[in-house]
């Protein structure tokens, strides 16, 4: 029997900047100040992301967001946020080193993830701009679908990243796993 056509492509995403942002969305000053820095509003719908320019913000919880930026921008954005929010009760922490993102793409991408995730990954439900923290196998991850195409980003804690990649490759075996890590 012929080798199956590559149905999945796995890639390690280049390092990126990440900022863990906490604050009270009910205090109007907070979202306003953040929007002032980012140039757009924080997503308030659970499990969605919003992005513009070089920044993407993912909803993590009712008072928690993850801001993704270019690697080189992390410190600067964190600094600007901290300055924009001086008197507010909030928390800004650079966490870009703490995790590694993988991109899982191709026609069988969702199937590879579904082997380890209980989220409903139906493209009509987990739509572009959706994100969710959940478990992949036994690893806590953040899943994000940035656009309409079948590209998913899986962000795992740094200590789990080798295992996570190993797991993903193994899961992709049956669909043909193009390109190893890059």
């Amino acid at each position: 029997m012929a080798e199956p056509a590559p149905g999945v492509e796995l890639r390690i995403c280049p390092p990126r900047g990440r900022i863990d942002l906490r604050g009270d969305p009910a205090d109007p000053a907070f979202p306003t100040a953040v929007a002032g820095v980012l140039g757009f509003e924080l997503p308030s719908t659970p499990n969605t992301s919003r992005s513009a320019g070089a920044a993407t913000v993912l909803w993590l919880g009712p008072d928690a967001w993850l801001i993704e930026t270019e690697r080189a921008m992390e410190a600067a954005v964190a600094e600007r946020l901290a300055q924009a929010l001086p008197d507010l009760h909030c928390s800004v922490a650079a966490v870009g080193d703490g995790s590694v993102a993988f991109s899982v793409s191709g026609p069988r991408a969702a199937d590879v993830l579904a082997k380890g995730m209980t989220l409903d990954l139906d493209p009509a439900r987990f739509r572009a701009g959706h994100c969710a923290r959940s478990l992949l196998a036994r690893i806590p991850v953040l899943l994000h679908r940035p656009g309409d195409d079948f590209i998913y980003e899986v962000t795992a804690a740094r200590s789990y990243s080798e295992y996570a990649l190993d797991w993903l490759h193994d899961a992709a075996l049956e669909y043909g796993d193009a390109a190893g890590s890059s």
């Binding site: 029997m1 080798e3 199956p4 390092p15 863990d20 906490r22 008072d63 009760h89 909030c90 928390s91 922490a93 650079a94 966490v95 870009g96 080193d97 703490g98 995790s99 199937d111 579904a114 082997k115 380890g116 995730m117 209980t118 409903d120 139906d122 196998a137 036994r138 690893i139 804690a157 740094r158 200590s159 789990y160 080798e162 295992y163 996570a164 190993d166 797991w167 193994d170 899961a171 075996l173 049956e174 043909g176």
Partner: protein, 980 residues
Amino acid sequence: MTGQPYRLAEGGAIDRSRPVGFSFDGRRYTGFAGDTLASALLANGVTLVGRSFKYHRPRGILSAGTEEPNALVQLGTGARGIANAKATRVELHEGLVASSVNCWPGPRCDLGALNDLAHRLIPAGFYYKTFMWPHRGWHFYERLIRRMAGLGRAPEGADPDRYERMNAHCDVLVVGAGPAGLAAARAAARGGSRVILADERGLPGGTLPDAADTGRLGETTAELEDLDNVRILVRTTVTGYFDHNFLIALERVTDHLGPHAPAHLPRQRLWRIRAGRVVLATGALERPLVFANNDRPGIMLASAARAYVNRFAVLPGRRAVVVTDNDSAYGAALDLHRNGVEIAAVVDLRRNGEGGKPAEARAAGLQILAGHAVVDSRGRRRVRTAHVARLDDDGSLTGPVRTLSCDLIAMSGGWNPAVHLFSQAGGRLRYDEALRAFLPEGAPQAVRCAGAINGAADTASCIAQGRAAGAGEPDDRAAGRVEAASRAPWAVPARNRAGEGRRFVDFQNDVTSADIALAAREGYQSVEHLKRYTTLGMGTDQGKTGNVAGLAILAQTLGLAIPEVGTTTFRPPYDPVTFGAIAGRDVGRLADPVRRTPIHRWHEEAGAVFEDVGQWKRPFYYPQDGETKHGAVARECLAVRNAAGVMDASTLGKILVCGPDARALLNRIYTNAWDRLEAGRCRYGLMLGEDGMVLDDGVTACLAGNRFLTTTTTGNASRVFAWLEEWLQTEWPDLDVYLTSLTEQLATVALAGPNAREILAALTDDIDLEPDAFPFMAWREGRVAGLPARVFRVSYTGELSYEIVVPAGDAMDLWTALTGPEHAVTPFGTEAMHVLRAEKGYLMIGQETDGTVTPLDLDMQWILSRKKDFIGRRSLARPAMRDPLRKRLVGLETGDPATVLPEGAQILAEPPSGVPEAMIGHVTSSYWSPTLGRSIALALVQGGRDREPPTVHVPLDDRTVRASIRDPRFYDPDGVRMNG
């Protein structure tokens, strides 16, 4: 014919152009693609397939499906062996190797059959009544009995195959792709729902007896296959129905391909399905009749006989007696007849063999013996004769017994709707007198039933019910029901009082109607007692064919109505599930996640031995050139004491605590006070559970006014984070604090030893390391080795020590700089760290503490604030916590300095005098101290350091060691070194 004497020349759904060679019990045979092992064996005239569990009775093939109790085989060999495969479910592939189970030397002649001769001595539950003499005799008997245990054999090696698990979601899950299921799937799909349709067979179409209808179903199947919103899973048994419409299904992906399976595919896949609604269209399973010697090879279910001729073009026999208590077997009789099987008679237990079906049979020239029963059979390896007698209205036998010669008895004792999954879902069953069956009634979950599972017997009503269920339309479950015989006895009476000729109810476990009566007589009258006393329904088939007859016979014996007796509990799985498939890929390399620090590679290359701490891999020690563990640890310790060492402490938990109420939170969580900790300073903290027991410890630094960085132990990192969050969210939502875990973001390297300052000085130019400028328990920000870092002057080793914290991405650079040859720094592992801290008398969470130790027990009153409340404080006020006899932490010094006590050694006040000894404590930590050149130990001992006299005794395997209690600080008790 290719040596398949019982194969028809045409018909059936097999592919005669593809002969398939296989072997059974060492002999080679040929079947066709599309055969099951059972159909291929029958085609070759093999009827004796194995032996039963208890009596080792010769057994053949009873059914054509999942319900098979008899035809179990050992499949494959070596590491790929499979025990107890159902021949009726094994799809034939080239090179298949199978053999009988539970017989020696073989199924034709089996020594175990001695049990059959002794059967009178070993009725149900006999083992409870004997083997009790002499007193310990059971040890001996058990060994003999265990030899008889089990059916098939476990494989001989690790499993070479892969298994997958897959999560799936759907709006409608349809179980069963017979007429009802296909109709349900189509209706649901047309309505736009996401549908999964699963069937255990290789093709959709169900058990439809009539080939003509199969074509129409083919159209439905084709339509479904074209739809994007439908996923059809074949060879997929839905086998467990759990809470909140979660179901599991086992897909046999490559089992049917044997050695030709493509390597990239898993052997099996376990589906984990979350369904909005479930439609169960699982059909019905035919029941055997209970008569004497109803278990011989060649006696099979009528529906099975029919399936073998129609589907597989196999004659299950050449001359058949068909015996039934309902109409359905007439179809089988006619199909057998049409295909050339001589029908010796259709024996109908019902008085009047009238109605459409019998008339059709009569018109075809079949002899019908209405009001008769098969009462016995003869034939060893294959049935030879059926014995038929008249059955009276009152259920007794009258008149002469006629002997009909035959090589097949096709029987039907009615139908059991396949309500297993429905019942697993929590659904209630109702006994239907007319149908003599348990039918689905109300269910607490979103589940509907359609087709034969509701008692519908004709295809049209099955389809109608399926359509309605799929579309979510009103339920007409009553449609299409055909009443079975009402008064036929559940067990045909025995011919004589002696009860000769056992009447089997559970074929696999050899449970007879007499066993059921015996259980009832002895008081095992609940159906659950019956099951456990007789093992009825406890075999690999879980009583799919026998259970209802069994409980009916119990009801009859007790004079109760069947619903009063009820069924036993239906449990997952519906059909056995491979362990490997349940584990999926959580085995071997992927068995559990491995967590690695950013410096892991370096440790590996340096030859570190790793220790598992939770999921982390931590360097335990770094042996050099053949060093033993002892040697390496001693070298590492001395290096720290005399020069400098570095340790990867990145696994420690780190939590950013920030907000106006951060101090308030720390005050409530930790036992000590945090009001006055200034930016730039650190403090050690201890936290308790609300029960007063020590939970965790660690250092917290004030980063700025209300920003703190708290560290936790490695093992408790996530637990402590969760603990703080829980209090904040559930009890103290008024506190304005945000927590962020920085465990993964920050890496920590501990640099310890008298040379530490000097080394660090060489690597930083913007941190003033002078003791006055940077005292013990302070922290500074700056660049170390050119990297932005926070340096904490804390010490767990008792030496001058700095913990350098950098973003994880910089950790390798930092480590490389520190371990550069110019610094002569020795990497040390967790074991050296344990020794060094024990020399200082520092506690280690999880070693000195075990969830039963309070700070009072650790003589840590100094850390308990008196000015505030904190979690666990009130519990410490219970009188028992201050009991002077509680075990408290001490140092222990052995009389002989060379003796290292084993950790966990128990401590006695007096030399041992005979068990039971009164133990007064145990050794919590114990090491050879290379620094002191002697052994040291920490222990928890009643009375602690107040104990008089301070001498205790530690019994070891071969001797007892005397030791004396002392201050646990063995080394530098005043902390001169780390403060310096």
